[in-house]
Symmetry: C2
Subunit: 248 residues, 2 copies
């Protein structure tokens, strides 16, 4: 199934940007009158008929639309520290999008070696992955913030294990804290009746004790992802898979 | 933790090959008398003391050993069709090894575009991934066979759902067969009391109807990996994650 992406759909008219128009007209050789399927990146699939087949700017009329197309029964917000090697972070973003998640916050930790991330590249990858895995919603990518800023933004502290309408806030760090033992992400998800999940994944050097402490104060629950030592990008995808299978 | 890999450990003597010796002596500057940790790729970790620090062939005496080091509580055999793009297959192999699996059979399907695979490259990646994720066992990589040969090798048909000592044989195809409806891999794993699992993952073009039919005759259970349409390599990793979390 060939999908196009447009952020310019209103009043029953859909316009494709320069790249999508070129792909539609030059590569796929669509012409006026042809029907195309377009996702708006916010969850709706539009069936459209091309009215203007310019390779610089395709215009089409909306024939009908399907909301929540290719959606999943949970809301997953991943806060992940960028990896030293960019490819690994982009790979995780693509795979997580195929399985299904909703929001990505690149976070910079005290122990992060990579302290910058170009979100535009990741956004592009997520659009392709959403198209490829037949989803009309493209995960939102936030501008990078520090781990501490992210934790602060998730205040006030709510124990999501007692209030299931609040998001389940999880932090996966690798050290043991005698006061607050980590449980497996599977066990914690099984005890949660809500559908809104936030998972923080640290950098190669793990979260700092201070970051972990702040997260606990903000109501984050410390979890582990099993006995295996996983790379950052693998841990982020494992957390996505755990959520995906939990709500299956 | 720095791990070395050797297939030449016997009589209390451990020898490193040319590459590992160079890394040990030239890069890490180990000298006679130093202690190093060596995995044999079959599940045992050896603590050894270097007796000869030649960068061409390190020799060390075994101080002690730990069996089943970094092992997992299941046995997972993945039969996966190579992807058009080799990187994607190698990426899956690395990530699956981090989570934990035991045997990889590259299988060539009726609809496979890529019909060859160099197993040597994959083996190299698995050794690094096993070291990186602190496992003493490196998954075995078999020479590629056709999907039909693989199915035949998994005869006779045993319903692993009734005989839990037999491996649970799963095939993940994407079309629907009215006679044998697919269930989710999670549901089927939950109904299985054994620990030996085989999962077949098809190529970009999916398994052929004939391959699916042969698999069913051989006692394979048709499963799906959820609502998302996953690429071959993502499906293979999702199946690994489902198994990893099931036995967590």
């Amino acid at each position: 199934m060939e999908l196009f992406y447009s952020q310019d759909i209103e009043g029953g008219i859909c316009r494709l940007d320069h790249d999508e128009s070129g792909h539609c007209i030059k590569v796929l050789r669509h012409r006026a009158g042809d029907e195309i399927s377009v996702i708006d990146g916010r969850g709706t699939l539009y069936r459209c008929r091309i009215t203007s087949d310019s390779h610089k700017g395709v215009e089409a009329v909306v024939v009908d639309s399907t909301a929540d197309w290719g959606s999943h029964p949970y809301r997953l917000h991943l806060a992940v520290c960028p990896t030293k090697n960019n490819d690994r972070f982009e790979w995780f973003a693509e795979k997580a999008c195929e399985m299904g998640f909703d929001e990505l916050s690149p976070v910079i930790g005290d122990h992060s070696e990579r302290r910058v991330l170009k979100t535009a590249r990741v956004e592009k990858i997520l659009v392709s992955a959403a198209k490829q895995s037949l989803k009309a919603a493209v995960p939102v990518v936030n501008e990078p913030v520090s781990v501490k800023e992210f934790i602060a933004s998730e205040h006030p502290a709510i124990s999501s294990e007692t209030d299931h309408s609040a998001p389940l806030k999880l932090i996966a760090y690798c050290f043991d804290d005698e006061r607050v033992p980590r449980r497996s992400i599977k066990e914690v998800l099984n005890g949660f009746e809500g559908t809104d999940v936030i998972v923080m994944i640290g950098p190669e050097g793990d979260f700092s004790r201070e970051e972990a402490e702040l997260a606990l104060q903000a109501g984050f629950i410390p979890v582990h992802l099993g006995a295996s030592r996983l790379r950052t990008e693998t841990a982020a995808l494992a957390a996505t898979a755990a959520t995906y299978f939990h709500y299956m």
